[in-house]
């Protein structure tokens, strides 16, 4: 994923203004969202869920350089955890926060479960095994009718509530998601800059050399898988709570590909890139609503063109949140 020099020469004068413009536009969107009609709030909610998923997958794909094409399986784990523990399906109605904890735990376990067998695999083989894993999970969910309702899915999920405050309307879900994205995003960014993050980067650049200088690649890789799966699972819980309906359709292979695409388009291994990528890929279809069928074609072509022309994505890996802040306040 790496080995390409992603740093681009930037002139500081104009780009400071540009940076301010982009940041202010993003902030304006965040502030304005609660006052928009429900439809737009839902679009922003979708965007935030994908940002969350992108942040999660980026740990494995961007930081550790392991292409995971079955990420949506963890998303499904979280969504179905909520659907089973807070619906008439099993007549269980656990509180939202407890389910978040359970789902995070299950996601962690699923991540390690997938991580252990694929530790030895690299690059393309890893991609294929994770892809197979994702498909197996989806087929199982689709067919265990007595538990998951099969293709019909599970409906009438409970409304989420935290500390007595109900979170069901799009605006309420919006605040929940915003808090989650900010908290998880910050944590993951700190992880990236911790010694663990450096170990991931070392594995990404050259696994043998990383092992040579004494990095425990097994632990580092498993941590990457587990953390990423946990975030995916939490995103799944919120997704289920906001839709109040889950079905296997939401967890098709295309979703995994879309999340990878977000990362590739935005900037591999960079949280800012994930946000930009998600914004492009999730908001663009809304803008291009009239050209419904053309937009996927456009996405595919965009992916090819970007990989060829800008293999590092829109935002270079080196331009992280710290750089952005420095750019904003540079003289």
């Amino acid at each position: 994923m790496s080995s390409i020099d992603t740093s681009v020469p930037v002139s500081t004068g104009g780009s400071k203004v540009l940076a301010w413009l982009v940041v202010l536009a993003a902030l304006a969107l965040l502030v304005a969202t609660p006052f928009l009609p429900n439809y737009y709030v839902r679009v922003v909610n979708g965007l935030l869920i994908y940002i969350l998923l992108g942040i999660g997958l980026n740990i494995v794909v961007g930081y550790a350089g392991l292409l995971d094409l079955g990420f949506v399986a963890f998303y499904a784990v979280g969504a179905y955890t909520y659907a089973l523990l807070a619906s008439p399906q099993l007549d269980l109605h656990l509180p939202f926060l407890l389910i978040v904890v359970i789902a995070a735990g299950l996601g962690l376990m699923a991540g390690i479960l997938l991580g252990i067998p694929v530790l030895k695999l690299r690059g393309d083989y890893l991609a294929i095994v994770t892809l197979g894993f994702g498909e197996i999970i989806r087929i199982i969910v689709n067919n265990v009718d007595w538990l998951t309702g099969g293709p019909k899915g599970i409906a009438r999920l409970d409304k989420a509530s935290v500390a007595g405050i109900e979170l069901a309307r799009p605006v309420e879900i919006y605040w929940l998601l915003l808090v989650c994205v900010v908290v998880i995003g910050t944590l993951v960014w700190r992880m990236e800059r911790s010694i663990l993050g450096k170990a991931w980067a070392a594995i990404r650049e050259d696994q043998d050399a990383a092992r040579g200088i004494g990095i425990n690649t097994t632990v580092a890789k498993l941590t990457a898988f587990a953390t990423s799966a946990m975030i995916g699972s939490i995103a799944g819980v919120i997704f289920a709570a906001s839709q109040r309906f889950v079905s296997p359709e939401s967890f098709a292979l295309q979703e995994s590909v879309l999340i990878v695409l977000m990362i590739v388009v935005g900037g591999i291994g960079n949280i800012l890139g994930v946000i930009v990528g998600a914004a492009i890929l999730i908001l663009m279809p809304e803008v291009l609503r009239e050209f419904a069928e053309w937009r996927v074609l456009f996405l595919g072509l965009l992916m090819i063109v970007l990989i060829i022309l800008r293999p590092g994505g829109m935002i270079p890996r080196t331009f992280g949140p710290d750089k952005l802040i420095r750019r904003l306040f540079s003289r």
């Binding site: 067998p117 083989y125 892809l131 197979g132 498909e135 689709n142 090819i304 293999p311």
Partner: protein, 316 residues
């Protein structure tokens, strides 16, 4: 009982030979470029659509075409798809030949997405009925029913595979391809036209894949823009099972996979007391894929390459 077994064996052989045709494309591309071509399943799909379009253009009324015309349509369609394959390689993979290994894979994901959507836009997302390329008659072989379509598919696939095998092993083009797949830098140093070899592979692979698509569509009488996804993945499983990079391996893997699938579909409900039904057939294929990669990543006939030597480092 014997009749059922014979019938199932023929089912497995039919589907196995289609898997084999597609698996060959994966294995050849991997052999030469060390790249998983996610868009290969789409060549399979394009084959069926190209044949359909050419057939309707040539003769408005599908169904009463003579054998010669059908054969011509078949060849025209696979060659069109072969050329598409070469074009796709030139546009989407060639610029990435010297970047890291994941870039062409991601690019092929983009190609796959684009091709499926393009076909969806042009032909509509719904499945379309496909005319059979073989006159349909039923035979009774020891109590089992075997159709002429199955036999036609078997023969067509065998002919194509033998042709490929001879081409690769006996012709000058085959030598070039094998040399490049052995070692690209060395082949380049020896003055072999690497671009030609890669183009040949990206022609032959889609040609076989498209042939598989036409046979598949005339077997089931239906085609859809997304038909390449699952079949492509299974053919890829077959290629890995047989040992990716190995041409006989891809054929062997395809037939093994087909037999396991057919046997699994027949036996799963009986073995598990109805708990696991036939819908778990695809799970079976993916489980095999994962098991093979974990236990013996080199596959059955693949060279026992160590994990370390498989890592492609950039030459500076």
């Amino acid at each position: 009982m014997l009749g059922t077994i014979i019938q199932q064996v023929f089912n497995a052989l039919t589907i196995g030979s289609i898997y084999a045709l597609i698996a060959l494309g994966y294995t050849m591309v991997y052999g030469v470029l060390r790249m998983i071509n996610f868009a290969h399943g789409e060549m399979f799909m394009l084959g069926a659509y190209a044949a359909f379009v050419i057939l309707t253009l040539l003769i408005g009324d599908i169904g009463n075409a003579g054998v010669v015309i059908l054969a011509l349509v078949f060849f025209a369609a696979v060659i069109v798809v072969g050329l598409i394959g070469v074009g796709v390689e030139r546009l989407a993979y060639k610029p990435l030949r010297h970047s890291n290994r994941l870039a062409p894979m991601l690019s092929s994901l983009g190609v796959s997405l684009s091709l499926v959507t393009a076909v969806q836009i042009v032909a509509g997302p719904q499945p379309i009925g496909f005319p059979s390329f073989f006159p349909s008659t039923r035979f009774d072989v020891l109590g089992g029913t075997v159709t002429s379509v199955q036999i036609g598919i078997l023969i067509a696939a065998l002919v194509l595979m033998v042709a490929l095998y001879t081409l690769v092993n006996r012709s000058r083009a085959g030598i070039i391809v094998r040399a490049v797949s052995e070692s690209r830098p060395t082949a380049q140093l020896l003055g072999i036209n690497v671009n030609l070899a890669i183009s040949l592979v990206f022609f032959a692979g889609p040609v076989l894949g498209a042939a598989g698509g036409i046979l598949y569509a005339s077997y089931y009488g239906i085609m859809s823009p997304t038909m390449g996804a699952v079949i492509g993945l299974k053919a890829f499983t077959a290629a890995i099972l047989g040992g990716i990079g190995s041409i006989p391996g891809a054929m062997l893997g395809a037939f093994i996979l087909a037999f396991v699938e057919v046997a699994g579909t027949a036996l799963l409900p009986a073995l598990t007391g109805g708990l696991l039904g036939t819908e778990y057939r695809d799970v079976l294929a993916f489980a095999i894929l994962i098991l093979v990669l974990l236990v013996r990543p080199a596959g059955i006939l693949g060279e026992p390459v160590s994990e370390e030597s498989m890592v492609y480092k950039r030459e500076f």
